[in-house]
């Protein structure tokens, strides 16, 4: 038998040596606990509004696949957002503002924002996930706004539009397009795939979410494998982990 009293002493001696976080972070909100719950809720709501507003203001836009625009200024970027760490890993990204989560392979990251790039009308949020380093990504986006082998999640205003309408506006209508109903995070979704060029193909998923449209998309090609061994299977695995609150 293990000597339990000794074990208890060892537990206290060893675990009591683990470092604590700064005391200011012990309680979730910047409050002493005396704040009333409704007021705390208002503070949280205000914070969300600020975050959304800031995201709308500073988030780079450019639906590269949809517009095909080129020649974007790719100045060095700062303030790369870090994924939220959950599940003991730091490769799970959560957007509390827009209520979704996505799991990324270990070496993936959020692509840097491009300052000065205006958001298209109706775009509320856009996050691009990439396996490339910031320097590699900036080089890639400088060549073409479409960065193949990345995964992009966008939140757009629906304005009454259906998933099919959005897919067509993005390019599904003007190209030989393969489209159909599917599910994403147990929600009905519209999947569309169309060629951007002879060697590059767009895959997009549209989920109607109240007055918003969630769009997940990636571009493959040329070839069957991107940087760091990313394949379409990798991208599909990432899309499959997408979760809506």
């Amino acid at each position: 038998m293990l000597p339990e009293l000794s074990i208890e002493r060892i537990f206290h001696r060893e675990l009591d040596s683990l470092p604590l976080p700064p005391e200011g972070s012990w309680i979730p909100h910047p409050t002493s606990g005396g704040r009333s719950t409704p007021l705390a809720a208002l503070v949280v709501a205000a914070a969300v509004v600020l975050v959304v507003g800031a995201a709308m203001t500073i988030r780079e836009a450019g639906d590269a696949a949809a517009t095909g625009r080129r020649g974007v200024n790719t100045a060095p970027l700062i303030n790369v957002p870090r994924p939220t760490c959950l599940r003991g890993a730091c490769n799970v990204y959560r957007s509390d503002a827009f209520g979704y989560g996505i799991v990324l392979p270990e070496n993936w990251r959020v692509a840097p924002a491009i300052p000065g790039r205006p958001a298209p009308t109706g775009q509320l949020d856009r996050v691009e996930f990439t396996s490339q380093t910031s320097a590699e990504w900036i080089h890639a986006v400088g060549v073409d706004l479409v960065v193949p082998w990345d995964v992009v999640v966008e939140v757009r205003e629906r304005r009454g539009g259906l998933a099919r309408d959005f897919a067509q506006a993005d390019g599904c209508g003007a190209n030989p397009c393969v489209a159909g109903e599917t599910t994403l995070s147990q929600s009905p979704a519209y999947a569309a795939s169309w060629p951007i060029s002879a060697a590059i193909r767009m895959q997009a998923y549209y989920v109607e979410r109240g007055d918003r449209m969630i769009v997940l998309r990636y571009v493959t090609g040329p070839g069957s494998e991107g940087p760091y061994g990313v394949s379409e299977r990798t991208l599909q695995q990432i899309v499959d982990t997408f979760t809506l609150d």
Partner: protein, 156 residues
């Protein structure tokens, strides 16, 4: 219980519960998130008795981490194997005898072992907090101890 009183009790218990959660979850972010969730849960509906506070906070926090996990789909196996945890805490725990013993247990076993040996809860209290039968706690702890004994034997 007033919010002020709740915050005061929470602050007193924070170091012990946070460290207990570190030992179970082996990740500072998860431990802090879980304790924050427990604090908010206590604001909404505090535990009936102050005396149960440590066990209550611990178990509510553990449950919160499971709820967070359920909100995400399962990871492909190769991603789980390659995912990076909290290296600093992992390293600190691996330097400890206790950390090495706990590392070989499941998260549920770790939670019950820590509840017993660090938080000082008995089998009945653990059963009540975890919502399981006392016999289940006894069996889980027996399995955990057997694993820890095997780890001690292997190490020596």
């Amino acid at each position: 219980m007033t919010e002020e009183r709740w915050a005061e009790l929470y602050r007193v218990e924070f170091p012990r519960i946070y460290r207990a959660l570190l030992a179970v979850l082996r990740d500072r972010d998860r431990a802090l998130d879980a304790l924050h969730d427990a604090f908010v849960a206590g604001l909404r509906k505090p535990p009936a008795h102050d005396a149960d506070l440590a066990g209550w906070l611990f178990v509510v926090a553990i449950r919160s981490t499971r709820r967070r996990l359920r909100r995400l789909p399962l990871l492909p196996l190769e991603w789980v194997n390659s995912s990076s945890g909290d290296d600093e805490i992992e390293a600190a725990l691996d330097r400890m005898e206790v950390g090495r013993l706990l590392a070989g247990l499941t998260e549920r076993q770790r939670a019950m072992v820590v509840a017993q040996f660090y938080l000082g809860l008995d089998h009945r209290e653990i059963a009540r907090h975890f919502g399981v039968k006392t016999g289940t706690v006894s069996a889980t702890l027996a399995q955990a101890k057997a694993r820890m004994r095997a780890e001690v034997r292997n190490a020596s």
